[in-house]
Amino acid sequence: MNMQTSLSQEWYKFRHQKGPLMGILALLSLMFIMAISVPVTRTAIITGFKTPQWLLMIIVIIGANFMIMEDQHTTIRTLLYRHTYRWSIYLAKLLILTLYTGVLTTLSLLFTVLLKTTLASQLSWQSERLFSHLVVGMAGTCLVGILLLTIILLLSCLFPVNTVVICLGLILIFTGQGIASLTIGSSSPILVNILKWQPLNMLNLMAQLPDPSYQKDTYLSNSQLLAGIIGYSGFFLAIGYWRFKHKRV
């Protein structure tokens, strides 16, 4: 079976699950709750009413379930023997999840615009580049989401139990940036030059893109963070696929 068939099969499975739709509804609901529970400020709009936090949580849960369901339902055997090469399965799953991340990001961007227009019409989109900061912040979140997906797929191959992978993913989301800042901030200048390239530091891209002041904590420019995200995504994709290729079923 070729890549196109793999993509169409994975899409078929993805769209027939309730989880992805629930994820979209949960994201929009949480954004709405955030918008009505506190005063709508410029910062709230730029962060899409805490979109990065909710979005990453949702893709961790959906991504882990989408991968591990094959082991849970023993469908992995049929999936593997019916496909000529294993890479097409792994890549198709990643592409579908990346597309989902893109859809979530776009919807949250549009919903932020809607919420801002409804609840904070006094704030101007032109004021302090509000709209462009929102867009680049969302783009950063989407890129971090893709990096996170490659890590989740790798973890799913290492520990095919969805609760374990989801827990590890959530720990990464909630503590990753903090650990990165802590390790870099408390290190000697020589170590900083090494530690600033750790994968956890790349998670700061989504915060730094709309707010350049973060650069004093990350010690990396936007383009360096972007290069780091691309590099680490490729790295985790490669070792995740290597593990998947040698998976015993």
Binding site: K13, M69, T84
Partner: protein
Amino acid sequence: MLKITDINVWIKHRQIINAVSLEVQPGAIVGLIGPNGAGKTTIMKTILGLMPFSGTVTIDNQSVTETNHTGLKSVGALIEHPALYPFLTGYQNLALYAQDEADLQAIVTQLEMTPYINRKAKGYSLGMKQKLGIALALLNHPQLVILDEPMNGLDIDATILVRQIIQQYAQQGTAFLIASHILSELEKVVTDVIIINNGQVRLNQPIATFNQVTAQRYRLQTTDMAQTLTLLTDHQIPFEQDAGYLNISQTVLYTAQTLCFDQQIQFKALIPEQISFEQRIVQLLHEKGGDEHAN
């Protein structure tokens, strides 16, 4: 069709399959028989390229390896449990892999799944899931079908139906490799028997040859049972008495015949004691170094 040559499979430094070679011809229904842990499922997984192995597996002269499944394009399989997505209906589970809508519909009708095919698979009974698993294996006109315990959870009607469908597909040229512990069912469909134990092939024969086993013992009745009994005792020929018959071994049958003939005693009945397919399998497993019984 399928040719396996000298395959060896190791799992965690333990050899599970040891130099197994076998062939399955188009239209053949090969029964893979052996006790639990003999290596049946591992052989099936190896054919499907799901295990690392040494040796060669070819299907229609196309090599199958753990990383290249090009040779498996015309193979269907049901391994251990039906692999179904519970959030999809039975129809959607089939549609996921079906290349031809008409073929899908034909299989659904053949396996009498129409009443529940549009229900979510998570609500299926064990038998319904098993039928759907078999349907998945039969999709897209496979040239080789591998079935591991296909009769699990099936009621009598479904068992008969599946047996008929297997025979029907085999007549059209599809080869089957079937592992089952239900030997009575297997006996009704197989054209060849492969007995495996401790990861090695112990016997590989057409069923016709397998069934041509010389009876090991005979039940004998003569015109003078009392004198026959004396004769056998005097000549130290072992026997047992059973409901008016003398049971003797096939190895001493001709000696007993000569002794009786010399004393002008005629045989009234000489009945070979046939052993069942199941008994023969158990016997072979014991004879050929098996420690466990076939279930």
